[in-house]
Symmetry: C2
Amino acid sequence: MPKQITIKDIAKKTHVSVATVSRVLNDSDCVTDAMRQRVMETVRELGYVPNSIAKSLKTNSTYSIGFLVPDISNHFLISIARTVEDIVSRQKYNLFLCSTGNRADRELDYLKMLLSRNVDGLILNTTGHNDDFILKMNTQIPMVLLNRQVQAEGFHGDLVDTNNHLGCYLLTKQLLSLGHRKIFVVCGPAHLSNSQERFQGFVDAMAEKGICVDEHYPYIYTGDFLMQSGMEAVNHLYEMEDKPTAILSMNNMLTVGILEQLHARNIRVPEQVSLVSYDAINNMDLMVTRPTSATFDTTAIGERLGKAILERIQNPEGENRKFIFDPTIIQGNSLGVPQT
Amino acid sequence: MPKQITIKDIAKKTHVSVATVSRVLNDSDCVTDAMRQRVMETVRELGYVPNSIAKSLKTNSTYSIGFLVPDISNHFLISIARTVEDIVSRQKYNLFLCSTGNRADRELDYLKMLLSRNVDGLILNTTGHNDDFILKMNTQIPMVLLNRQVQAEGFHGDLVDTNNHLGCYLLTKQLLSLGHRKIFVVCGPAHLSNSQERFQGFVDAMAEKGICVDEHYPYIYTGDFLMQSGMEAVNHLYEMEDKPTAILSMNNMLTVGILEQLHARNIRVPEQVSLVSYDAINNMDLMVTRPTSATFDTTAIGERLGKAILERIQNPEGENRKFIFDPTIIQGNSLGVPQT
DNA sequence: CCGCAATTTGTAAACGTATTCATTTAACGA
DNA sequence: TCGTTAAATGAATACGTTTACAAATTGCGG
């Protein structure tokens, strides 16, 4: 591999100092046009490309933003990531998309990596298992959270979230209005704020019909926000003697898993069981089963996220803000009246 | 933002030189155990996290690999990316996933960015519009190509590809065997090697039945590998007077677009038109229309890709290699006999 | 107890850039 | 022409590491 061309080389060739070259390259005003011409000439001639490693070391800013997500297969997140990328790249920032596969250890590795790579800002959709470390990093790096709160005092940063409670409340109401009472709820990890809020939305809707959802309520499955968990939930469900008549899925990955397993078991929706989903699944209109879903404007969310992190980088000491997006319920073909 | 803790700080606090600290941190052998203890003690105490920017500047290696893809929504690519990430992260490399949105200018920006960030290696699935620049970079950075050749002499690196010709040949044969002769072929950009090879597979299969596909063959649509193009192709198709009886889609994004538009126009598959697809679409078994598809083992491809780039980084001067993966045809419910 | 080798530690110079401060040059009115 | 000021350029230092080289320490046979 040939030696890379540095600012020094073009300084020598142009018979100027490295300082002037640097100034030309950074559009400093204190440089004459003739000089700019000459320098840029040799820059082109030698095919110089700046070393942003060195630049970063000096300026202590990398023009990069980390985006930590649990799952790169999640269309909701991908869609948001694309918009965020779009927004921040207009300001010359690069986005590092890091997918942890829902694993806490991987997440910690990534966090350390991003910290040691000196990213200027961080967007976090965490597993919730590294909050202590995140809190430490928080003093060093501006942060914006997506979907999940950091469960600790003293966090400094913004939150962009969907209206978890409302979404699940509405979905549950719809099931109830059809007459469903035995609703099987497939939850995400219990320690996550969004899981809790979604669950609470369910609980509150049920309570309005006088159904108490407590530790004795039988139709609860708790897993990860993964297809795998959705599949397991269905298996679990069909081992019960008193089967539920409807399923409330708390996340799109879960929903896909549930659909896959219902399909594998030849269970028809909504004839045998009704289904509602928090978050939309991809290409829904092409599906045999189109779950009635609480959906969100991922473009709007992405834009807000991108803006928020840029603003925080500009002004790290700003007040904590919350941006909550309300759901739109999309009707599918997954709802029927309960069969007994 | 508080000042970051450097090697110097922990040197001072431990009353040793920065050199020893550095040696401890890099597990150099020439350091006594007692010393290692003492240093690591203060490392933990101060919560030191190494500055990889500075490290990179000195060592001229960033332990990072760039992966340039045209579309982050493409499940085929995402699935590969996940595996690659898995492979390279075992060797402590980080993967930068960059999605160009099929735009040549964005691609060039990303290439420059990756070059200036000194990535150790590059995996490229390009638009084909920046081959000259890539050729220049090629002397600086080890590269592995995915799916698309660089159309120029003197390229140095590996290629991982699917068997484009065979895949389309087999799909076409299957349509022909059902009696289809008027096959509408939806192609990707004509300047890309994989487009060309896929098209040739189609041409050769047709030739075997004595059908000459040349500039007079009416059923050709050329677009980008995007949903949008797939939708436009369908619109184009249904403005023809002598309608084709089958569609061959050359890529999964195109296929989704085609399905969407067929659905929007209420055209039934396979009753009104048959469909085959190069590449599988996601969650196919949940779809109303399951296109018969040439599919590929993305895990195997990802593993090969990851291994290849790591090997190239180890030994940049190695021979050019080609790894071609054969298709598996999955039968869907998208095929019927031609309706006249 | 000395001397020499082997091991461990320290010193200092890089890596490529930005930037302060000093210096040179240009501009211009008197 | 000269002096003054403003503008352009250069010299030198620093960013946080690694690493060649030098120096110090240790071990050990005599």
